[in-house]
Amino acid sequence: MTAGQAEEKELTLWQIIAPVKRQIYLGMAMSATSGIAWVIALILLRPIVSEMMTAEPDVTTLLRLGGFILLAIVIAIFLRIYSFNWSHRGAFELEEKLRTQLTTHLAKVPLGYVVSTGSGTLKKILMDDVRSLHAFVADSTPLMARAYSLPVITIVFMFIVDWRMALISLAVFPVGFVATRVAFRDYAVARAEADAANERMNRTIIEYVQGMQVVRTFDDGSSSFHRYREALTDATKTVRKWTDGTKHGAFVAQTLFAALPTMAIVLMAGGFLVSNGTLDLPTLLLFLFIAPTLPDSIIPMIFLSVLVNMASAGAKRIGYLLGQPILPEPASPQTPQNGSVRFENVTFTYANRTDPALENVSIEMPEGSITALVGLSGAGKSTVARLIPRFWDVDAGTVYVGDVDVRNLNSDDLMRHISFVFQIPFLLTDTIRENIRLGKPDATDAEVEAAARASQAHDFIVNELPNGYDTKAGDRGTRLSGGQRQRITIARAILQNSPIVVLDEATAFADPENEAKIHAGIANLTAGKTLIVVAHRLSTIQDADQIVVFDKGRVVEQGKHDALVASEGIYANLWHKYNEARSWGLRRHSQQVETGD
């Protein structure tokens, strides 16, 4: 099986709202009942009309009827309010539950999935997509209950009262449906084209905006503007074609499904029936009151389908994320025996790729040793670093940490056994103290400070930050440089005190003065540990116990620096290139090679 392959589980909206379905159904029931109460209030107008047509209208009867109507209206209003409350509370609870469910699930899927998906995309699902469900859960469900229950009740009632008038009241529907059918027969195709054109346009807009900052600095943006304009024209043309095709049908539907045509038909037909004495006036009025309920419910249904479509896209992404297979945890977890790492015939292919990232890789990294992983970008060195903390599971072979297959380790234990110093330091928006303490949640303040001293962070924390260790990282006004952030994460790793340290070109972007301090911090972190370095600057790893050279996912060379250079292979070539790059200077032709290494 390829790593990270997802079983796409299509979750419908109704499945997603399962955790709060009690609230939602209750809200819908109340909404439907509220609608029915309103129709009853309208129906009660008829006896009033009848009473008024008698010679001596009875005031008590009228008052009693008025009272009933008032009661029906009050019930309708209160049920609406409660329906609103239930559905909204349900929606909020759902947001909370879904986010908890999603974040819990994220903690169980392969970390590699999280890393490769990226926090931006995940944020969109966890935040925006979950939020987009609100329109459906809170607003659409009650509306839906009302929009579907009202016409049904009304039709049934109309047929009970007078079947001729009932048929007349429904007269516009066959015409309307036929007209829309005809007009929308190519709807799906045209719609797909228009959607595609819109999507192209949106892509161009994004590209235009993103590229603008860069393009502007070397011309006035005229070339990209030209492309932008063309994409807009193209989209407008396609959309115009679509609207030209569909607007007739849309128009017929809009016109017929308005209240007035139905009213006019009811009035004219009713007028004739009243004139020839087969219909009484109160019944005509009754139909005038309730018949337009039918066309009136069509428009909300159209609204609803838009809302449901919007929420469906989000639901699909949420379902996809929840469908990501979790990394299986061992039934009877073992504990790592020591600080060694071993790769045995490991083959691994990233999802959506065909060529393996690692092929039959075997490496021994004994406890306390230093291993440097070297190669061009994409050769596989970073993959090795990521497989150690089990970002993904291997396709073949085994990764051992502390002489135990990583798949037999509890993932939390594994994480604690390894310190990772990432290229981009991660800090919580919390105090510096808490950020360091993440390495060991029960550490005392004294331990935290000792770790900060060892990572060369103590001085700037105390001297440069407004509240010392209690300064919040990320607060306005506290601007930590990349090097400072890096030293805080190193302090965290020192506190964590794991026997294995994985270092991923941790110092590539720091400025020189910071860099010297980071180096000192790293030296303190790695003392006595098993160290695995993903190396870019070859000069830093000359003294490593072993250098493992990767090319296209395979280990091609392995050994100590001097021996590898002497063998004139890939490493030697990289080493020469490296020195050439380092001696480069603008307008200085590489006549002399910088000394000092």
Binding site: F92, T103, V214, G439
Partner: protein
């Protein structure tokens, strides 16, 4: 309402006639419908009296409905048309703005945010132009027309109808204001959850190691619970405005009925008129009850219009007249002081450059060095007129750059950044972007000079391969070289470099370095350098600290001075000797 109209007209720009035509037709149609409703009075009076004239009124009603349908047909064409035309025009205008607005403003806006304005907000607005206004006009004008006609039938009922329904509007507005305030509170809670979720996703490896995940993630759980509490509170306040309109209308119908019955019992109202009034009142209930939903749509649209207009109102940096032309390419900063525009209104901007003066002779090489935040990048930005300095002047070839049109200044400057942006177009067009009329041979010569001809020809369609097809498979170094080819083709006399090789692996680095060597030949070059060894040969090194130039001179001179530069050089030499294992 009038504000909304003015805003709509403003956004519609040259297509405002389409919009106005549509509005006029919608108004006329609504009045006809109002009259149609009013015909219920004579209809019932005659029907009640057994008078066959009811037929006449009925048919007139049918005719009015047909005419109204015809008008709406006409109007909907305007609607579709203005929807498309306005969207197109607004997007083009906004696109034009983006080309001309000060770069400082452009960069202060997040790209995601601008995307939303150009695609989403434009859509919101035109959607409404394409028909929303007609629904709204309809909801308002039809009842008014009918009520006005009712005045002539029975003024008491007319006033009852006229007072009861609109009374909800101010009430509704009031309640919405309260709710809006509360919505802002929950917006803050939303932002907190958002940042916690991002943090969670980014720090999952670390958080897992300390077991702070899922339901155990206290910070995240707290913010989720807080959000839910705030949402619930704001929903409680929102419930009244969204329910009130429909409730008021329902109760209004009951009251109108009661009044009508009372008047009829007193003998001052014809029963037939009472019936017609009931039919009319019931009919107006439904449209008014969806008023709340429409008001939400309008808020939406108002917000969208506001954001579009905000962008529209950004003016390009002024060009001093008479506009000059560039003939020489030395660069001069005279007592330049620069403060960035504040992020939020009312705050102070960040002062990044003070008293900066220097002269860079034509075809010289100048390096800017110093700590991050010292002002290096700002200097290069100001050369391409990112923004105007608050004090002092920047001159190229003796000409103040404020007297240069953008299209005169920009082609004379090539910039090579660390991050390269390539368009989803062919490689050829990506390079040609720098010089629209370049021949294929010129493009290829530039690519050759930039060391990328070889790998481009190995791509499936060579120069015609589109970047999108191979997107991920271009390495950072290859992208960088394509951008350098662009700059070489541009052949601008001034080249600005921002440490273009620091993020590359060794193999690419050498190739990019060679490409840069060709790019900078015989140019006035300004380079931001982190690795001092790359600029040892610079004619002039400016050392910046805290927005000031603290040292200047050649490499050897500065070493002798034994100041900041010498210290940095020593630190770097030490770092170069550092080893993971020591």
């Amino acid at each position: 309402m009038l504000d909304t109209y003015n805003n709509m007209i403003q956004v519609a720009g040259s297509k405002k006639r389409l919009l106005q035509n549509g509005i006029v037709l919608a108004i006329v149609g609504s009045i006809l419908q109002g009259i149609a409703f009013a015909l219920l009075f004579p209809f019932f009076i005659n029907l009640f009296a057994g008078n066959s004239q009811w037929q006449l009124y009925g048919w007139v009603m049918v005719v009015l409905i047909v005419i109204d349908a015809g008008l709406r047909w006409w109007e909907s064409n305007y609607g579709y048309e203005s929807q498309m035309e306005v969207a197109n025009e607004v997007r083009i205008k906004l696109g034009e703005k983006l080309r001309n607005m000060p770069l400082e403003y452009l960069q202060s806006r997040q790209t995601g945010d601008l995307n939303v304005v150009l695609s989403g907000n434009v859509n919101d607005v035109v959607l409404i132009m394409g028909g929303m206004y007609s629904i709204v006009l309809h909801t308002i004008i039809v009842p008014i027309t009918t009520v006005v006609i009712t005045l002539f039938i029975d003024w008491r009922l007319a006033i009852a109808l006229g007072v009861l329904f609109p009374i909800g509007v101010p009430l509704y507005k009031r309640m919405r204001q309260v709710a809006a305030r509360e919505n802002r509170v929950s917006a803050v809670a939303h932002a907190a959850v958002t940042s916690n979720l991002i943090e969670y996703a980014q720090g999952l490896a670390v958080l897992r190691a300390s077991r702070q995940v899922g339901a155990q993630s206290v910070r995240l759980q707290d913010s989720l619970a807080d959000l839910r509490a705030k949402q619930t509170k704001s929903a409680d306040l929102n419930v009244l405005p969204s329910i009130s309109m429909s409730s008021i209308v329902q109760i209004g119908i009951l009251l109108v009925t009661a009044l009508g019955v009372y008047l009829a019992l007193g003998g001052t109202l014809e029963i037939a008129v009472l019936f017609a009034t009931l039919a009319i009142a019931v009919r107006f209930a439904e449209p008014l009850s969806i008023f709340a939903n429409m008001a939400t749509m309008f808020d939406f649209m108002e917000a969208a219009i506001e954001r579009i207009n905000e962008l529209m109102s950004v003016e390009p940096l002024p060009v001093q007249q008479p506009a000059q032309r560039l003939t020489e390419f030395d660069i001069q900063f005279e007592d330049v002081e620069f403060t960035y525009a504040p992020e939020n209104e009312g705050e102070d901007g960040e002062l990044v450059l003070r008293d900066i003066s220097f002269h860079l002779p034509e075809k010289s090489l100048t390096a800017l060095v110093g700590e991050s935040g010292g002002g290096k990048t700002t200097i290069t930005k100001l050369i391409s007129r990112y923004a105007d300095p608050q004090k002092g002047a920047i001159k190229i070839g003796g000409v103040d750059i404020r007297a240069l049109e953008q299209k005169e200044l920009m082609p004379h400057i090539s910039v090579v950044f660390q991050d390269v942006y390539l368009f989803d177009d062919s490689i050829r067009n990506n390079i040609r972007m720098a010089k629209q009329d370049a021949t294929d041979a010129e493009v290829e010569a530039a690519a050759e000079a930039a060391n990328c001809h070889e790998f481009i020809t190995r791509l499936p369609d060579g120069y015609d391969t589109t970047v999108g097809e191979i997107g991920g498979s271009l390495s950072g170094g290859e992208r960088q070289r394509i951008s350098i080819a662009r700059a070489i083709l541009n052949d601008a006399p001034i080249v600005l470099l921002d440490e273009p090789t620091s993020a590359l692996d060794t193999e690419s680095e050498v190739a990019v370095q060679r490409a840069i060597d060709r790019l900078v030949e015989n140019k006035t070059v300004v380079v931001i350098a982190h690795r001092l060894s790359t600029v040892v040969a610079a004619d002039q090194i400016l050392v910046l600290e805290d927005g000031r130039i603290v040292e200047r001179g050649g490499h050897d001179e500065l070493l002798v001075e034994n100041g900041r530069y010498a210290a940095m050089w020593a630190a770097q030499q030490q770092v170069r000797r550092w080893k993971v294992v020591s």
